[in-house]
């Protein structure tokens, strides 16, 4: 049975606390000074009319992934569930995929010298019916993960209730990560 995974990021609930980033580091043994996920915050506007821009940066698991088509060794590939993965053994760290990724989500793991990125914690968690580490740890329930084919799932219900934005949708990459935009404060 194929899955149609989706990760929802609600900017209204996110407080930029970086618990997701640390949970990811511990779960996936991400080396020091590189990140698979971060949340950036930026103050917008002129005092006292301000707003805070919250942006989650990670792999968005494109349905049409540019990183896969440029890979010369098929190390970057898409699974039957539509998730994008990297086969470490085939990766020759040519960095084509790093350049091709419009979301800047890939980097070289300095310890292994192979390309690395978010996997949705597929091997250690999602394949065992658990949520990715970032979703599970989030102190404010800002992340929701699940299968869009199941209409009783929280991710399905929230997706149908809220306004969704898909990052860089105009590129036609069809991300599996969607954002619920911030409703408060100055935007620019």
């Amino acid at each position: 049975m194929q899955k149609q995974y989706r990760l929802l990021y609600d900017e209204n609930l996110c407080i930029g606390c970086q618990a997701c980033s640390i949970a990811c580091r511990v779960e996936n043994s991400v080396p020091d000074e590189v990140y698979r996920v971060q949340v950036h915050m930026q103050t917008m506007g002129i005092f006292p009319n301000l707003g805070m821009h919250y942006e989650r940066l990670s792999c968005v698991m494109c349905e049409n992934p540019p990183c896969v088509s440029v890979c010369p060794t098929n190390a970057s590939f898409q699974s039957k569930d539509g998730l994008v993965h990297i086969d470490e053994k085939s990766c020759i760290s040519c960095k084509y995929c790093i350049l091709a990724c419009p979301y800047h989500a890939r980097f070289i793991n300095p310890l292994k010298n192979v390309v690395e990125k978010c996997t949705f914690c597929y091997e250690t968690r999602v394949s065992k019916e658990l949520s990715p580490a970032c979703v599970s740890i989030c102190p404010t329930d800002a992340l929701t993960f699940g299968d869009m084919r199941q209409s009783n799932s929280l991710v399905y219900q929230k997706s149908h209730k809220e306004v969704l934005l898909f990052p860089k949708a105009h590129l036609g990459t069809k991300p599996k990560v969607a954002f619920i935009p911030n409703r408060k404060g100055a935007k620019s």
């Binding site: 000074e33 971060q38 915050m41 102190p139 404010t140 329930d141």
Partner: protein, 734 residues
């Protein structure tokens, strides 16, 4: 190249590269690779990365990593945890962590050490402490732990009156209680859902555009320390218009007439020049809150709100809640429901009560910090104390001679006001012991440093955590202690034996301690071992909410006799710990010792002391006030603290982003760098706490950033002794 390498300064603060590996004597790094001994199954315990103490669970994977998440047996937690909590593993096997006792070989503070065995260290401590006792009396040695800090003090003051019930509220007024950067998972989560709900209203007062402010419907950049003026103006408007819960005031309070008198002049116009907030805003907010009452919360102030009038501000906020009649009502504030309270109300044993495991002979010595004594800090709880009072007590040797200090895992040389003076006082002592995970700034001043087992390596007794229902928690060991670290309980119990008073304790081991506390209740112990938390099937009780009282009486029929004609437990609010047993709007006891403090009024709000700027300080979500800055995973996220400054202020002083300058006042002159942002009042500056460390053994933090405590005065808030964390400064060009 790699995006995240280039943009890892996500908090918009410059960070420097990873520090080189340097081996520290007595540290884990000196021992090489170490495997973790623990099981690959979840063990439930209590976090200790900060003072919030959230329930968590952890498991060891491949003997290498400890995965930590929230303990979902605590319903309000789920699997959530903050960055600090998840980074517990990074502290556990930090190469800079201490694992062997150290004994000083150089001069005090010179940072020269030799490694020692536990036996040698403990026998030295017991000999020295016994000698001090012989020569100067037992009272000549101070024992202090983390609970002495201002946060707990403030919290204890507020929680004595009630916790906020965010979920069912519709309107919250928040004075600098920054739950989105000083996290306490259950409260933070409830607040996040509140602020994201379009049907609710959150109004935040803070001189800085905090994360909390960014989630508010309205942010008012109030002048630092003037929150009391705003609250007094609210009280004025409600009383002027007769818009408050008159029945509640009549039934449950005393001294309302004195409040009417004291807020007569505190008009919305009056507060304008003090707070910088328009009078019309006060009028509008007063009307909005009254409309949503009693489902409204005027939340306790915190940190950014401290002044000498801390006691007055907290009491004024309490009065605002009382006027709205939101006490013990759905969506308002409530008293913690301990097992003792619930059992008394139900008139049956609903939840088990615990034995107190620590012998506490009633000592008839005056306390050096004066907590609980007649005089300055008459109203400070004895279990909290006033750390800022210690240096003067040591230097003056009053009220009696102080010769020794035993500190456990707290770092007053970073987190308490005027550490320069604290250091001077420590130099006068004959013997200092510090029990800590790191060779901190404070540990550097010790004669003996004991390497403490981190919370992941410790079994401990049962702790209480009552909210709407009674709850118990227990810290269970996740991994075997690395090398030879020990817990404080083991150390103290061992010292008691060596010093000849071991017989005062009813227990020898942690297992015995737990059994003694639980009064042999095997079911309770079993639950706490398996689940880490024990809650009881008690319907949440709000004593003045008829529906809630009805549910409670149905379950516990004997409690019905306590129900009054209106169907509520009104006696609950008439059996308080005040002299009259009612809520005292005017306290004769306070007025007697501190004239003018018996009822909230406009006093002591100025924090500028004649300087053009106020320096405020606070937490970021990734660090505590002083403990986590050197922990690798967290240091990577935020490793220094440039001072927040408004562009117009920076321009006036000719400063550009990253420039160096000095902060100066009568206490000190401290070097700093500037971070320019629209997110702060032009007359205010802000620093994250915990940086500007002197300890060279904290390799990642040494010499980075500014320690704002070094500019703070030792003068505490009147009555409650809270540390005043806002201070006047002048900007001096470097």
């Amino acid at each position: 190249m790699a995006y995240f390498q280039a943009r890892r300064d996500f908090l918009k603060l410059a960070t420097t590269g990873a520090s080189a590996t340097v081996v520290i004597p007595g540290s884990l790094g000196a021992l090489g690779d170490v495997a973790l001994r623990g099981e690959d199954k979840f063990i439930r315990s209590i976090c200790e990365m900060c003072s919030s103490r959230c329930p968590m669970e952890a498991r060891v994977v491949n003997g290498k990593t400890v995965l930590i998440q929230g303990n979902a047996f605590a319903k309000e937690m789920g699997t959530s945890l903050c960055a600090k909590g998840v980074a517990g593993a990074s502290q556990l096997y930090d190469s800079q962590r201490l694992v062997k006792p150290l004994i000083r070989t150089g001069k005090r503070g010179e940072n020269k050490w030799r490694e020692a065995s536990w036996d040698e260290a403990l026998s030295l401590i017991s000999t020295k402490l016994s000698a001090l006792k012989e020569r100067y009396g037992a009272r000549s040695v101070i024992f202090s732990a983390k609970t002495g800090e201002q946060y707990d003090l403030l919290r204890s003051f507020a929680s004595a009156f009630g916790s906020p019930n965010f979920e069912n509220s519709t309107y919250i007024l928040n004075f600098g209680h920054n739950l989105f950067e000083g996290l306490d998972i259950p409260l933070t989560k409830a607040m996040a859902h509140f602020s994201a709900d379009p049907s609710k209203k959150l109004v935040v007062f803070d001189p800085r555009f905090s994360v909390m402010a960014s989630k508010a419907n309205e942010w008012h950049p109030i002048k630092a320390g003037s929150d009391l003026a705003f609250v007094l103006a609210l009280l004025h408007v409600w009383i002027r218009d007769g818009k408050f819960d008159k029945k509640f005031i009549e039934q449950y309070t005393l001294g309302f007439d004195k409040l009417v008198e004291s807020v007569k002049e505190t008009t919305p116009q009056w507060q304008q020049s003090l707070t910088g907030i328009d009078a019309k805003v006060v009028e509008r907010i007063a009307a909005e809150i009254y409309t949503s009452a009693p489902r409204c919360i005027i939340d306790w102030g915190h940190k950014a709100t401290t002044t000498k009038a801390e006691f007055q501000r907290t009491r004024a906020i309490l009065m605002a809640n009382i006027l709205m009649g939101n006490v013990e009502k759905e969506g308002g504030i409530y008293f913690a429901k301990t097992a003792e309270r619930i059992n008394a109300l139900a008139d049956e044993r609903v939840a088990p009560e615990l034995n107190d495991p620590y012998p506490r002979p009633r000592v008839n010595e005056p306390r050096i910090d004066g907590a609980g004594e007649e005089g300055m800090y008459r109203f400070v709880s004895r279990s909290h104390g006033v750390l800022q009072a210690i240096p003067d007590a040591i230097l003056a040797q009053k009220p009696y001679e102080i010769k020794g200090w035993f500190l456990t895992r707290h770092n007053p040389l970073v987190t308490v006001a005027h550490p320069q003076k604290m250091k001077e006082a420590m130099e006068q002592l004959e013997f200092i012991v510090v029990n800590d995970v790191y060779l901190s700034d404070t540990a550097m001043m010790a004669d003996v440093v004991l390497p403490e087992a981190t919370y992941l390596e410790r079994d401990e007794g049962i702790s209480k955590s009552a909210f709407k229902t009674p709850t118990y928690m227990m810290r269970n060991r996740i991994v075997a202690p690395m090398h030879h670290t020990k817990s404080l309980i083991e150390v103290m119990r061992d010292l008691a034996e060596r010093m000849g008073f071991g017989s005062h304790y009813a227990w020898k081991s942690i297992a015995e301690l737990r059994a003694f506390q639980a009064k042999g209740d095997a079911e309770l112990l079993q639950t706490l071992l398996m689940r880490g938390v024990a809650s009881f099937d008690v319907p949440p009780l709000l004593a003045l909410q008829p529906s809630s009282v009805e549910r409670f009486c149905e379950r516990y029929p004997k409690s019905s006799v306590l129900r009054d004609t209106q169907g509520v437990f009104s006696h609950f609010l008439r059996s308080l710990k005040t002299p009259s047993k009612k809520i005292e709007i005017f306290s004769a006891e306070v007025e007697k010792t501190f004239k003018g403090y018996g009822v909230p009024r406009s006093v002591d709000m100025d924090v500028t002391q004649g300087h053009p700027y106020v320096l405020t300080s606070g937490k970021s979500a990734v660090h505590t006030n002083g403990h986590t800055q050197n922990i690798p995973y967290l240091n990577m996220l935020l490793s220094t603290n440039p001072i927040w400054m408004h562009p117009s202020t920076a321009k006036a002083h000719g400063l550009k982003m990253g420039d160096t300058f000095y902060l100066q006042n009568a206490i000190s002159k401290e070097k700093a760098t500037v971070f320019i942002t629209e997110g702060i009042r032009p007359d205010t500056l802000f620093a994250y706490m915990g940086f500007g460390r002197d300890a060279p053994q904290l390799k990642r933090t040494h010499g980075k950033g500014t320690n704002p405590s070094k500019l703070l005065s030792l003068e505490s808030a009147t009555l409650c002794g809270a540390m005043i964390t806002n201070v006047g400064v002048t900007i001096v060009k470097a």
